[in-house]
Amino acid sequence: MNMARVQSPLVPTQNIVPRNYAEQSAELRVLKDEIVGHVQHKEQWVQKGILETVVNTLQNSTPSRSRSNGKETANYATTSGGLSDDELVRLLCLQILASISCGGPSFLSPLHAVGVVPVTLSYISPNENPPQVVLTALRIIRNIAEATSAAPPGSDDLDVLADALFKREHVGSLYSILVQASADLMVQEQKRLVSALIARLCKEDTHQNPLTDGGILDALATILASFIVARGEVIPEAEKLAQKDGLADMIPAPALRGASLALTLEAISAIILNSRFRCCMFLYSPAILALLPLIEFTPVSKEPRASWSPDVPGIGGASRKSFGAMDYLLPLIPTSHLKSSSSQLTQFPSTGLSRNVFSSRRSQTYKFTGLDPTSEDSDVADHPESPVVPWLIYVVRSTSGFERVAAASVLTSLFKAGLTSPEREQALACLVVPLLCDLIKEHQKDVPASVQQATFIESDMERDWAILEKTPEVLARLVGASECLQISAHECGIIKTTAKLLKDAYEPMTSPLIPKPWTPNPDRNMSSAESSAACRLGPPGQVPLYAHKIKMRYSALTLVAGMGMLRDDYRKEAASQDLVPFIVESLAARPGKPQSPKEKAASAKEGRDRAGVSAYGHNPNRVIIAACNALRCLGRAVSVLRTTFLDHDVWQPVNKLMKHPNSVVQIQACTVVINLLATSSPMVEPLLGAGISKVLCEQAHSLNPGLRLNSMWALKHLVLGFENSQKKQLLEELEPGWLVQLISDDSSEEDTLHTRQRRSTDADDDEDMDAEASDEEESHSWVWSGMNNNPRRMNSTRMQKAEARLTALREADLNPARKARADATSIQEQALGFIQNFIVNPDKPSDQTELVDFLFSELGENRLFGILADKLKVRVVGAYGRRYSKTRDTVVLYPQAKIIMHITYILVHIAASIPRHRQLVIAQTELLKLLGGHFTSSSVEVRRALCHLFANLSCLEDDDDRQHCKQRALELEKLGVLSKLEGLERDDTDLDVRERAKAVVAQFKAPTIV
């Protein structure tokens, strides 16, 4: 009757005597019954060394199987019933491990000591193991993932776990699990567990790409498709089309009992995050293509939906072309006058300061894709939006809770990847953003006191927390780059909500650690120093509430950043919510009490500074990074910079972070510094005092392109406000040779890239990428598995189009040369900007002359002009490009507008000094000829800059200059500049450019002294 009476039947010895399986299972069963649910029993058994025994028993019961024979494959899918004796032993061993791993973070170190992760992972293949075994093995991994996220700071090994799980051989097993057709509930739970693991662990390219290539994304899309079928939302006539294209076999049965829509969406969202290629892979999954094709749709009867018809006056026929069947499930959205964000961004005035939004947005996304915006636009025009987008909007509207968030998350990725039609932005603003805002508000509840120290959270509350953690992140990602969506979120009062989220996350806690349970024998402490690692328990973990709060800090900070991305008034509003002290504390690994400067001063006086620090816990790096991001966005508002930031001495913690051991944190800290060093900032002085210029110059020499980029950017800001002597000193510190290197990186770029690439793949243990880098032929032959060698599919134009697009996007996404080139270009842009700001000194023209001369002497004038001319040429990259590209042997690179602009402004400033310099510029015939080719540039900035330049060149200094001036005009006329300027004066679309051109032409014809 009494379980406590059961005495240890298993003697934990290293080498268990092989007995028959029946005996073993009887003992294991008793052991299982004793430990399930009882943490203390688990502890005692682990301290007795049970883990090694169990793992040994497990492995001894496993016959060394020949993996090559696939005969066993079919066995398990059908016979889920009886287990053989050895299988039963295995199952029981795994169940015991699962139960122990469920005990919490303190069991992690003994479990890892017996290598529980690799051991367990050898049992997850459904082709080699019975379903119960697979299920239990997956549960162990889940338990370990859960324990790891609750483990105390410093042992954040989720990435290690992800690396182990997403290895190629296991990806194959995961795939097999997901494609099982069985309706067995156990199989369904396996699928749910796999989805949940992907959603939790898959965060980086090195995991996302193998999962995509391994077919997991397609398998998940197929499960999603089964929900489309179950919900009855297949597009009319899709089946007919699918027949034609050979996709009919991809139409799945309706979703089975036990399948989870939310988890499936979440897993998909985790895989496609931050990549256009993977987003497209999802859209072009065969099952999705089969169910949601692009078909012209005419509603059977117009009558009941008369009000939905696009012909209704006032709605405007503009959106008619995008009216697919799926759109009839959504309410009509009136087209708004708000332009989409991208068009607004290009109109953003760009000054020599170049603190403009567009480039910063690029820098933020530079790691995602190397595509330049122009080619993206044409891409959108070629490929109409997939009906998946309206379907997802419909799902967001028709579901609730976590399904809603997960659907919105997938939708957001598609939106960010530019795979939605431009009209869709308005629909998102009206239909999705308010729902997400409401979701946050609904789940923002006070935490009851009983939960403070609770080690177990009821599933309802757990779900609420998960929603609350995830939604702000999704919302931030969604609204980040779109003004229209930000306005919508703002109207929902999201800034105030965010402030509350962040403040709640800093409510002090008594203790973040899991309390020890009461024990009947307190003095029996088995763990002594000499016992082996497998018997020693680790430190206790954190209570769930604490982990929740840390996640909320991250989410709330991300949302602050998202809302502060574009508009000054939102930044000011956020700052007025007293958020800054909380953000500042989030910069510290060990935060103190967030307080206003006044309170801080008072508490410092009383000497109770930093008392009870542990009440605020420990901020992991991701919180610190999110805080940097928030500060960067708020810091774009000058008024915030000059008031709130100054009051809170923001520069101090940021400066400290510049020397953080983690390079990602350094990069993010540097982005804050960029804004703090703007000329209007009052924090330049203290930062200089703290030696920021030295740090930045060091970082400009870093191997990490992100650091090079941001430090050059910061230096560019810094140099603008300097006196001549300071400027010269700074250039010396940066080393003129290095600056030249940075701006002339092109020729050497491909080589350095390759050495760099090798190095990084060597360090990287991801086999997939390794194989690709080492085997040239293999990289050529990426084949879209969607074709599946099906002749019908291969003949279908729809499928061919999809394949072509995927191949191109894959190239764009995964080609490291392309990525490195994008990095190099952004760095060049900043370095050229640095030169531009270096020589400018609007107040004292004489100083400017001095600076130009200094620059020439340091860099060499011919070399400088030579490099600048090189930048303006069209480059053809062939040698290495071929390796990665299947379709094109060479890549033609046109100079980018930003680069042209910076070069032009450098010349503008040189030409603005004395006639001698002007003569120097005019002598650069080749350079001017190249520039003349850009009068037709699509960028207004470039055209305006060119007008500036030629205005300066045609400028008449004094009477002595008259002769030279005439000569210059003649020179320019020879180059055909005059006629082009006249063309601008006549035809340019921009009024400002027309006016400037007019002035220049007049100056040419009748020079007057200015």
């Binding site: 379980m3 299982k32 019954d33 469920c102 309390p515 349970p517 009461w518 009947p520």
Partner: protein
């Protein structure tokens, strides 16, 4: 009926709602019958004339759907034999084969007969994850086991009960305020003669209702594990009907008969439903 309380998580006990509703119907039916016969017929004709009733009569419910609903109920609540017979009789494909249905029945039986250890072992054999991931359920079972032990030692040797409480229940209970209170209450049973008049809380612990509630919780937990659906579909339907009626009544348009019959006014039929609905028949074993 008074001892049916919403269970601890703060949800409405579905059993409670369901039965409450049916009993209300029952009371009304009984009231009608106890009233004078001719009056009864006159009221029924009056209500029958109501537009709503007419619409109700015109609505045809497919028999198959109703049968499926009944089969679902039998399967979910753990009556494998009845479910098998019913599906044969109603010519339905048996609902998805549920390997756990037998085990669930065994577990229920063990709990109802006070053999908690067997129930725990069976539950662990079915799926050890259930108790590991659901401390509340585990504690409920342990407490019930403790109560059973105390019941057994009534007046005799209390050592087994004390020992069990110390070794098994107390560590689990120490982590949670509510568990602690519950454990203390259960322990106080040791000090009283169970045949005397006890406080209602203690009486409650000794009543067979505790077994029944715990058994229901276990059944639901197993179902949630497998299916994410914890109760028979008919329960949701009944709740939906109650909600629909009350919201229809609170709306402005009160075009409804004064009371809407659930369709079980026939007393004989009704008796049967209450029989099969509860677990009472099983307890008698």
């Amino acid at each position: 009926m008074s001892n049916w309380q919403p269970y601890q998580q703060g949800h409405l006990d579905p059993d409670f709602a369901f039965r409450e509703h049916i009993f209300a119907q029952f009371r009304q039916a009984a009231q009608r019958q106890s009233q004078a016969g001719p009056m009864n017929s006159s009221t029924s004709t009056a209500t029958a004339k109501h537009a709503f009733e007419a619409r109700l009569r015109d609505t045809k419910t497919p028999k198959n759907d109703i049968n499926a609903l009944i089969l679902d109920y039998l399967t979910m609540e753990g009556y494998p034999g009845a479910a098998a017979n019913f599906s044969k009789e109603a010519n339905l494909a048996p609902q998805q084969e549920d390997p756990s249905i037998k085990t669930r029945q065994q577990i229920q039986h063990a709990i109802h007969s006070g053999d908690i250890e067997t129930a725990i072992t069976a539950l662990n054999a079915l799926d050890p994850d259930i108790l590991d991931k659901n401390p509340e359920l585990h504690f409920s079972l342990l407490r019930l086991q403790l109560v059973e032990l105390i019941r057994q030692c009534n007046g005799g040797d209390i050592a087994p009960a004390l020992d069990f409480a110390t070794q098994q229940v107390a560590p689990r209970a120490s982590m949670n305020e509510q568990f602690r209170t519950d454990l203390e209450r259960a322990m106080s049973l040791l000090f009283f003669d169970h045949n005397t008049k006890l406080s209602p809380e203690l009486q409650d612990l000794l009543s067979s209702d505790l077994r029944r509630r715990t058994a229901t919780k276990v059944n639901e937990a197993v179902l949630v594990r497998q299916d994410q659906r914890r109760e028979a579909a008919i329960r949701a339907l009944v709740r939906m009907r109650a909600w629909a009626e009350s919201s229809a009544r609170s709306s402005k348009k009160k075009d409804l008969p004064s009371d809407i019959d659930i369709g079980l006014s026939d007393a004989v039929e009704f008796q049967e439903l209450t029989e099969t609905n509860g677990h009472e028949p099983m307890i008698t074993t």
